[in-house]
């Protein structure tokens, strides 16, 4: 029963003529080459067009360093916040029944549905000088829009689904019996979370954090709206890339962009490793789940 559900199509059953298989494979590879590999390689070709020294100079330039620093700072603030939120939301959704649970589950995906520019505008409207809380913030001399807090808020908004979604999938698959067992054996809430829940969702959590980090570092639209693009102050890496490009500093622009590309590759490799581990854990939980559904 479990085996039929999880069965993969048998290789012997693949009876398409050789020519079709070749054509499909070629098409897929050509597509990947044109739309992914070429642009990616182009970044590095352009970045190194004027040689290694120009490349290093573009990155060591004070505004670029400030952008790198700000990007890292935003990620360092955003990712822990979203990890904590993700764990709490996944725990609430998979372990309790309450009114509005479906709504919360849907709301978690909202940042994926809303254009980041719109998200940015929402924050400007809320905290900007003319916004709802603007006068109060101004009186108390708190600056959110066109400052780092606004960038952090906007980034939290656009990157918060990642951890929660990864965790919800795994926690739903693994059920709550292990936690019930821990509780029956005398574990308090923290011991149950620390010794049973967390080890079971470890790889999903890491995977969510990786994706969240990548998104937090790469976000352009929302940050572009709330940051005010004050050079050397509120420019993150993606915004710095765009500014340089608009000023025809193509080589410098690509040099900085290459940093983001490296982050992307790094993310991809990490993610692949983590997903393999995670899948093993989910797979181990699936037969019990299938049996439960059938009963």
């Amino acid at each position: 029963m479990a085996s039929t559900l999880l069965a993969r199509p048998a290789r012997r059953g693949l009876t398409e003529p050789l020519i079709v298989r070749l054509a499909l494979t070629t098409l897929a590879l050509a597509f990947l080459f044109t739309f992914l590999f070429v642009p990616f390689a182009f970044i590095f070709v352009e970045a190194l067009r004027n040689g290694w020294q120009a490349y290093v100079a573009a990155i060591e330039e004070p505004e670029a360093l400030s952008a790198i620093w700000l990007t890292l700072l935003v990620a360092a603030l955003t990712v822990p916040a979203n990890a904590a939120f993700g764990v709490a939301a996944a725990w609430a959704i998979t372990r309790f029944d309450f009114r509005g649970k479906r709504l919360l589950t849907t709301l978690i995906d909202l940042p994926f549905a809303v254009s980041p520019v719109v998200a940015g505008l929402i924050f400007v409207q809320l905290f900007g000088r003319q916004g709802w809380f603007g006068p109060w913030l101004f009186e108390h001399d708190i600056k959110i829009i066109f400052a780092v807090p606004g960038i952090v808020l906007a980034t939290i908004f656009v990157s918060f689904p990642f951890v929660a979604r990864e965790l919800i999938a795994v926690m739903e698959a693994s059920g709550r019996e292990e936690e019930e067992a821990a509780s029956l054996l005398g574990a308090n809430g923290w011991q149950m979370f620390r010794r049973v829940t967390l080890p079971n969702v470890k790889w999903a959590l890491i995977s969510g954090v990786i994706l969240c980090t990548a998104r937090a570092m790469g976000e352009f639209g929302a940050v572009s709206v709330v940051s005010g693009r004050i050079r050397g102050e509120t420019t993150t890496l993606p915004i710095h890339v765009e500014i340089l490009y608009n000023e025809y500093a193509f080589q410098a622009s690509f040099a900085v962009a290459s940093l983001l590309a490296i982050v992307a590759v790094f993310t991809l490799v990490l993610q692949t490793i983590v997903e393999q581990r995670n899948r093993r854990i989910v797979d181990a939980a699936v037969p019990a789940l299938v049996e439960k559904i059938q009963n």
């Binding site: 019996e177 292990e178 019930e180 067992a181 821990a182 509780s183 029956l184 054996l185 005398g186 574990a187 308090n188 011991q191 010794r195 049973v196 080890p199 079971n200 854990i281 181990a284 939980a285 019990a288 049996e291 439960k292 009963n295």
Partner: protein, 352 residues
């Protein structure tokens, strides 16, 4: 240690899982909660464990009110149908878990934990697997680890939710008799949930039969088999042949079969008569008080033969007769025989 449930009620939305259950399990008893799925037996077990709360009613463990306590404080051992072993921990760590999470002042030393875990693993005959992960064990082994883990905290009572439900027939049989012996050794008050009547009758000292959130019958295996209190119990426990008839002038009439039965005062005129397959006599000639039937099929089952017959109305009758007796009868398929119930349990009902 005893368990007492008073007037427990539980609803899930519009579904009434328990309707005012009262149950007392004396110290040392091995009790089975038996019933079809959705009858409320697992809900009751989870309420006793503190994994679920009754909407109304209370739970006493060892004479103390545990109603307001969560699962953590009740000191009950619980075995899940799907084991619920901590999958990232070795067998040893699984069993040690309950001791390791104790508050520091009550936590045993590392040597004491090691000794206790090894002792329990020896008890469940798995000491050679201490350093394996649960995923490397068979179903039967996992369930024994789950049992050792539950026993490690020296629980007041042991609760088992369909403990053999996920195992194949042979392992189930082995584990069953092993669990019964274990219970006789350690004498822990135990309650297990099952939908398998054979399991309940074989293992338990006492069987409580559930249906639609109420207790249909509460008695020894012998009582529920021999003296079913309701038609549901007669049908659910063991195979049964049903005869339809009516009640009149102090007797129950099932065609030619007539049994003494006081006419009920509440005006019920119809009756159902239940006879177990081994309570029907089969003869070649009309001995009175029975009916003629045609032999459809006979299959040997050890010391007796299972015989399927059809009565003149085409209804199927299941009969079990001794092998020697069957050989003496020497009937073949399609031949007529006379069937007479030696014993009939009569339940009055509204309409036929």
């Amino acid at each position: 240690m005893s368990i007492e449930v008073r007037n427990a009620t539980r609803a899930f939305g519009s579904f009434q899982a328990l309707r005012g259950i009262n149950l007392t399990v004396p110290t040392g008893q091995f009790l089975a909660l038996l019933g079809p799925s959705g009858s409320g037996k697992t809900t009751l077990l989870r309420i006793i464990a503190g994994l679920d709360r009754a909407d109304e009613g209370s739970v006493f463990i060892n004479g103390q009110d545990a109603t307001e306590q969560g699962a953590r404080g009740r000191n009950v051992g619980f075995v899940f149908q799907h084991y619920a072993l901590f999958r990232h921990m070795t067998v040893f760590e699984n069993v040690a878990f309950g001791l390791r999470v104790r508050p520091r002042e009550r936590r045993p030393s590392e040597e004491q934990i090691g000794a206790r875990v090894n002792e329990l693993l020896a008890l469940v005959q798995l000491d050679f697997l201490a350093h394996r992960l649960p995923s490397e064990l068979s179903g039967g082994q996992r369930q024994r680890v789950a049992l050792a883990r539950a026993l490690a905290v020296e629980p007041a009572v042991l609760l088992l939710d369909e403990p053999f439900g996920a195992l194949d027939a042979k392992v189930r049989q082995e584990l069953r008799s092993w669990l019964r012996r274990l219970h006789d050794e350690i004498g822990l008050t135990s309650v297990f949930v099952t939908h398998d009547q054979e399991e309940a009758l074989e293992l338990a000292d006492r069987v409580v039969i559930f249906n639609h959130g109420v207790i249909e019958q509460d008695g020894t295996p012998e009582e529920v088999v021999e003296h079913p209190a309701t038609p549901f119990v007669a049908n659910f426990v063991g195979r049964v042949n049903v005869f339809h008839g009516r009640l009149e002038s102090g007797k129950a009439w099932f065609g030619p079969v007539v049994v003494d039965h006081p006419t009920p005062s509440d005006g019920m005129t119809h009756a159902e008569g239940y006879a177990r397959p081994h309570e029907l006599d089969v003869t070649r000639e009309d001995v009175g008080g029975g009916l003629w039937a045609t032999l459809r099929h006979a299959s040997p089952a050890g010391a007796f033969v299972k015989v399927d017959l059809t009565d003149p109305d085409g209804r199927l009758l299941h009969v079990e007769i001794g092998r020697e007796q069957f050989d003496t009868l020497a009937v073949t398929q399609g031949e007529r025989v006379y069937v007479r119930p030696r014993r009939l349990r009569v339940f009055p009902r509204e309409r036929g």
